[in-house]
Amino acid sequence: MSDLVLDGNAAAGILHAVYGAEMTLAVGTCDSCAIAGPVGAVRLYRSAGLVLRCPHCDAVLMKIVSVGERVWIDSRGLRTLELSSEPAG
């Protein structure tokens, strides 16, 4: 296993900046193996951009490239993303 891998949680800052909400508890379903889990628990690689990979099958879930105010996101590897709103109070 590579020393370089981090948890999806490490991308919390950029994800929140882009989506406007805390995303690490959102549940993503991998389009390759159909297993679902929290975004905070996926595998994160840092390269020319961020690459989030499925912790079960290593398929690419998301690619994120950001510079200044511009962000490109490829989330084809995520079949579904389930978010729930914070409970009131």
């Binding site: 296993m1 891998v5 949680n9 919390a12 800052g13 406007g20 690490t24």
Partner: protein, 244 residues
């Protein structure tokens, strides 16, 4: 609710350093004042951005070390050999200096005080930092900290941990490189055997937070699952390759 998800764009805020205080020879706690800080939860982290005079920028993430305290945010930073940001924060930065902070973020690695079971915290080196934020606000929740450091001198927050131990907080220290004369504690790596001996057993369904260098976190997470812990109850925060 303090630190709840804030809808809307999350941007960079300016923070100023209030205090830099040593924890161990290579580790310092940086206390920041952040006007407008919305509060945070134990386990969350922040992104820090430094800008040089010519515009060059570097960004790193650091775990928050202490519970919510108004506009004050404390980070504990270990100097990484040949690092770019940590040598600045630990050796150069002083009260009054400014940097940018984005956060708090990382809802996944947050300790939820509603969890109806014991908490298991496993930290390697500076991985103890977010776990310390949890310990500092644990109340009466039964908590076990398994903390691996190279030597006694490398144990961050040592005095405070000694003071806080007891009353449901179990502290298990393992010193993996050298131990002081007469050391009666552990010296093995945090492996299945050590965890089986000291951690709450799987049938108590402890919620586990594992933090530290990537190889440490992976070995511990695997060991916990091998021992029968539910993988869904093992939360990991890998810090990346070990700084030499």
């Amino acid at each position: 609710m303090a630190g709840a998800a804030v809808l809307g764009r999350l941007g960079w805020r300016t923070a100023s350093i209030a205090e830099v205080r040593p924890e161990t020879p290579r580790v310092k706690t940086i206390a920041l004042e952040v006007p407008g800080w919305p509060g945070h939860r134990a386990g969350q982290h922040v992104d820090i951005r430094l800008t040089a005079e010519d515009g060059y920028q570097a960004e790193r993430s650091y775990s928050i070390a202490a519970p919510e305290d108004g506009e004050r945010v404390e980070l504990t930073v270990e100097e990484v050999d040949d690092g770019e940001v940590s040598p600045y924060l630990t050796a150069e930065a002083r009260a009054g200096d400014e940097l940018e902070i984005r956060g708090p973020v990382g809802g996944y690695f947050v300790w939820d005080s509603d969890y109806p079971g014991p908490i298991l915290l496993v930290g390697g080196g500076s991985g103890v930092v977010p776990l310390m934020a949890m310990i500092r606000q644990r109340g009466a929740i039964p908590t076990t900290l398994v903390y691996s450091a190279r030597t006694l001198g490398d144990v961050i927050y040592r005095d405070e941990l000694e003071r806080l131990a007891g009353g449901g907080l179990d502290i298990v220290l393992t010193l993996t490189r050298t131990q002081p004369q007469g050391w009666a504690g552990h010296s093995r790596r945090v492996d299945a055997e050590l965890l089986a001996a000291v951690a709450p057993p799987p049938d108590q369904r402890p919620l586990a937070f594992v933090c530290g260098p990537t190889p440490f976190v992976e070995a511990v997470a695997l060991a916990l699952v091998d021992l029968g812990h539910d993988p869904g109850l093992v939360k990991t925060e890998r810090f990346g390759p070990t700084g030499t």
